[in-house]
Amino acid sequence: MKGNDQDEVKAGNAGGNVGRRSFLKGALAVGAVATGGFALNMAVPGLAEAAKRPLPKKWDETIDVVVIGSGFAGWSAAAQAAIGGAKAVVIEKMPTYGGNSIINGGVYASYDDKFHYRQKMGLGDDSPELHMQDTLKGGDFFSIPALAKVLAEGATDGLNWMIDDGGAVIRPTVVRAGGHSAYRTHAAGIGKVYVDALKRIAEKNGAQIRLNTAVTWIWRADADPKSPVLGVEVKSGRKISNIKVGKGLILASGGFSRDVKMRGDHYPFLSGENWNCTNHPGATGEMIRFAQSVGADTLQMNYIQLYPYADPETGILDTPALIPFNGPGNGIVYVTKQGKRFISELARRDHVSFAQIGLGPQGKPTYTIFGDDMVEKMGFTKGEIEAGLKKGRLVVGNTIAEVAQKAGLPQDALVETIDKHNKYLAEGKDPEFNKPITKAMLPMTKGPFYAVAQWPAIHHTMGGLRINEHAQVIDIFGEVIPKLYAAGEVTGGVHGTNRLGSNAIPDCVVFGRVAGRNAAKG
């Protein structure tokens, strides 16, 4: 498993596209001669972004490694670049750090951890190989296997790094989430735990952050495969300046779930403003467009994930909204408004979302039913449950009938559904939805019991920039763009059609580290 030289950067070799590339280069070179040095720009003519932009005559400053975005991937990259001896600066357009990562649910898929919780709790076997296979299968084999492999093999080391060097505290449990065939999802309550750990590692190694600073352009002279990215134009307040990139530019700017036009362009079903979204407002796709404008390839842009269990009213992924995701391996049950199950609770996110959408608008919301004895095993605290009750996100009852009554569900139907599910657990077989039953799934026989309402909201964009296993960005001709790296949700091809829940953080951390390490080498 080890020694796949994921840290070694290979120079882009000339492929079979020389003719087309030379033509493109030639066309741009003519422009350059006539006008005195314009920057490469593939934006659609007529757009503001397509304006002829002369390359900066002078740079305001030079930074070894410039990282765009301050989430899991950005801080991982900055930390690793700084550890590699490079001056690393994180550029963040928002006024606060952390992007989507800081409001993420904190679930992290890894076959192991330094405490070996899975083994200690007797929750079965797992391996990076199995993690990789689940990832490929869960994305309908649209993932690039080499990328899924990097994720699965680097996940455990990434997790332990955040614990050991960054002081991240994970909860003493491992859960089995939808689409995973093993108990491998670690919980920390919220993504901020990891963001802060990564930030600590980065900052103690000398990395810095600049908030309120937006990238407005990526500079590259031409599309020659030897032509590196030169720098970025950034805007801070009213000030526009140009930063020359010494060793590498790492795009870790996240997905585009909040870019209404972009998501609708790629996935018309998700057009318009009416969809709820779990993301922070900064999750827009301009960095992808800027990278495309200097030749970067993208893939699988139309695969956009709905989170099946968001707060039906606001679309927010709060702590109660995490319970339906964490809980399937512990015996929670999903029901419709009629109190009936509608899918295997261990199904993938896309399947659960579309099962709900299939119920029609009048089917909104659906519910997760769970018992008090599951709470800590699912990675939650009693305090979090109490807070959820106070805010009205959860209802509680000593019997299933009482929960049904408080949630507005038909009592008889819910009691019957839970009784039946208890029987399936005892028999080790789910004849209705064929859910794989495990011993860790607890029957709901003794209260108190709880219900939480759920409904899909736009959550994660699987597509994005094409990278190789070294986190180098690949151009439209299949060549590496020198000095340009990408990691995390801004990239595509790691998750295929559907990202397995709890694979996002390891994706970001592992590829962020790869990008940072490679960029620092220059």
């Binding site: 006024p95 606060t96 952390g98 800081i102 901020k192 802060d196 307040g237 009213r238 407002p281 927010i316």
Partner: protein
């Protein structure tokens, strides 16, 4: 040579532009151009009447008369007897119509001081001067956080520190907390009775800048509401009065 000439032309043009409206605004109003620069007599014929109650009598009717006792606060240390910053609000739009250079000496890119006094606040060039004028007008009347401070007699340096703020200047939390802190007490003040974790001064985003919500020279906005639309939080300096 060319550059020099251009500077002179700009200076003349600026002088004409600055003076014209003031000269023409004379009829019937108390306002007229102070003439020469640094003189108050043009508007305040009865100079003694603008002095605060109990102020000792002064000789002269211009800045020089004030400056013999009052110093410009160049070091941002609020010395005793410094010029009151409130002077600005009485003289610049919307209350007054004076240009900065009515009282201030300015050599673009080189110095900016008070007429008749040595010393300089900074070296604003033309571009920065435009920004300062714009921001000063906001400070004087916007209804934003800046003008709330103006009403309390707080000027640039008390938030921004010594020197004239530049384009990318901001105010660090420590600057705000000097007067408004400590943070724990602020958080206590804004802690909701029902849901204690819905506290803008103790948010799940961790250690964030005051300026995320409290904008100095723009509309202040509760950042929480970007996602938590139902929270119904309010903020001062939210809109123009």
């Amino acid at each position: 040579m060319f550059v020099m000439k251009r500077v002179v032309v700009i200076a003349i043009a600026a002088a004409v532009l600055f003076c014209l409206p003031l000269l023409t605004a004379g009829g019937g109003t108390a306002l007229a151009a102070p003439s020469p620069k640094g003189s108050c007599k043009g508007c305040h014929a009865d100079f003694a009447s603008v002095l605060p109650k109990g102020h000792p009598a002064v000789k002269g009717t211009g800045l020089a008369a004030c400056s013999s006792c009052h110093a410009p606060d160049l070091a941002a240390k609020k010395p005793e007897n410094a010029y009151s910053v409130r002077m600005h609000r009485a003289h610049i739009p919307p209350k007054g119509k004076l240009e900065c250079t009515a009282c201030h000496s300015w050599v673009p890119g080189k110095s900016f001081g008070l007429i008749g006094r040595k010393g300089s606040f900074g070296k604003p060039d033309k571009e920065q001067m435009e920004l300062l004028k714009e921001i000063f007008a906001s400070w004087a009347s916007s209804g934003y956080t800046d003008s709330l401070h103006a009403e309390a007699g707080i000027a640039c340096s008390q938030c921004h520190g010594k020197g004239l703020p530049t384009f990318d200047d901001t105010v660090e939390n420590a600057g705000c907390l000097k007067c408004h802190g400590p943070m724990e007490e602020l958080a206590k003040k804004t802690e909701p009775k029902e849901f204690k974790d819905r506290n803008p001064h103790k948010s799940h985003l961790g250690d964030i800048a005051c300026t995320v919500c409290h904008k100095g020279h723009m509309e202040s906005k509760v950042y929480c509401l970007d996602c938590h639309k139902q929270f119904g939080m309010k903020i001062q300096g939210a809109a123009k009065k």
